[in-house]
Symmetry: C2
Amino acid sequence: MKKIINDPKRVVEESVAGFGRAHADLVRVELEPVHVVRADAPIAGKVGLVSGGGSGHEPLHAGYVGFGMLDAAVPGAVFTSPTPDPILAATKAVDGGAGVLHIVKNYTGDVLNFETAAELAAMDGITVRAVVTDDDVAVKDSLYTAGRRGVAGTVLVEKIAGAAAERGDSLDEVADLAERVNANARSMGLALTACVVPHAGEPSFDLAEDEIEIGIGIHGEPGRERVGLEPADRLVDRLLEPILEDLPFGEGDRVLLFVNGMGGTPQVELYLAYRRADEVLRERGISVERSLVGNYITALEMQGMSITLLKLDDEMIELWDAPVQTAALRWGR
Amino acid sequence: MKKIINDPKRVVEESVAGFGRAHADLVRVELEPVHVVRADAPIAGKVGLVSGGGSGHEPLHAGYVGFGMLDAAVPGAVFTSPTPDPILAATKAVDGGAGVLHIVKNYTGDVLNFETAAELAAMDGITVRAVVTDDDVAVKDSLYTAGRRGVAGTVLVEKIAGAAAERGDSLDEVADLAERVNANARSMGLALTACVVPHAGEPSFDLAEDEIEIGIGIHGEPGRERVGLEPADRLVDRLLEPILEDLPFGEGDRVLLFVNGMGGTPQVELYLAYRRADEVLRERGISVERSLVGNYITALEMQGMSITLLKLDDEMIELWDAPVQTAALRWGR
């Protein structure tokens, strides 16, 4: 195992500490228990947004803490759900009296631990609603999930719901909107290589030199099928077809097209894939109104990508465009 | 070779086309010959900034085209200098009558081809000045360079010079400032793995499972030495020591600390490295005033990182903070 780390058991703690120093203008970092809070939290009267999950998916979630997006992020160990304790601490830290929204990717451990934290927060008089994201069309039920997995659509939920909270929407309004975004987002990914969890020290799965896993999860969970080496355009089609059929997306729809890198794929490949995806959508009369291309939700150094489509309405476009100031997404302010 | 590509010979063209579609609000893309131009170029009375070089280092340079940074980028084939023809086309496209600055990384082919393009532009009545970046302290002279190589400091030159051009500085003022930034920037990198150039199809060099190359270039050119697996903190020290000695940086200095990923290294490792670098600088009484952490100048999917220190003055800080709106760097507007 070759990694730029010290002690495998201290990777998350040391990395989050570095994140806090690099972005002291945006966040403060608490290490016992580990959570990352927006520098100016709590904000009186504003709904607080908390997300979290296993580490290894950076910039998700700490990279999205700041103005117009999350109020706190709770990183667990690599690919391991955070316990209720730091989720509760983060929830308390961002409660400005208007309630707190938990944005939870659909993995059994995450869902359970966020639920427990919400119950504990309720005892302290904090109203919590939770939105569980499940945008991955690849598989229903998997190693770590009942139902679909929450993947890259989560980034879009966090951005749009965060903008709604920033403009003063109520907890129910923000939560309903987050659910609407999740309901209109569909994703699917593929992997060319596995990744190595630091405390495991070995690749999380095996993929031969001439194999590609279609429908991979962000922890290397199995997807739909393994295929041989194929041209990029064919791979893009393999991801897009099930996405387009699922909602479904059709002529006249306006979408946000999100091509996400899994961590180890060069940007030149992501834009090459974007080109094909954009072409397919145009052919179908679907209008690409907004785009996002880059490493936004990753699986450590895994080579691969995912494609996400979000069916947009006017409100979502307005909130997507609204100012955001975080380590990983920043515009308009 | 596993890559998300179609024809290895068309990688750059297809990727740049995708980039243009994803960022049509920022740039327009010309494919014959390939160059990327700011959407609103030329801007009358503003100095135009053009950079370029081999592809494979994305987001450098196309990701920095936009308000407050570059006016055009000229991507060559992967790890191959662009020819004078597209450099000339880009120079003409951004000339607003106030002259054009070429920002060139110090590689023999790049320097020659930008010089030729500048001579041709002069025949068309366009005044061109060139700044050659050479911030890499690792080696003097190398496979592709006489003198030091231009690496991550180039991003800082482009940002700060771009802000100066945006506020209306003259060509000489922008060029002198770019030279001052380069003269105050020092970088050094390391690699854990090699990368595969698409049209080559094989790793650009060999690195054993227990070896790390210290002082690597952004094309996998050899560095200073190979070492065994070591803790991250020790690796950071190996990069920082020659950087600190070279300028030198000392007590009371204000710096921008830039930890750059080579493309295949997870963000969690970059922030972990940032933590140690920040710690070392504090111990020496050097004040980290600004930071940048992420994949900003890469070598395809290479695992590794570089550290850059820029000694700041008040003007550089002001220009660093000035609004920028590009695909890869965006704030304040």
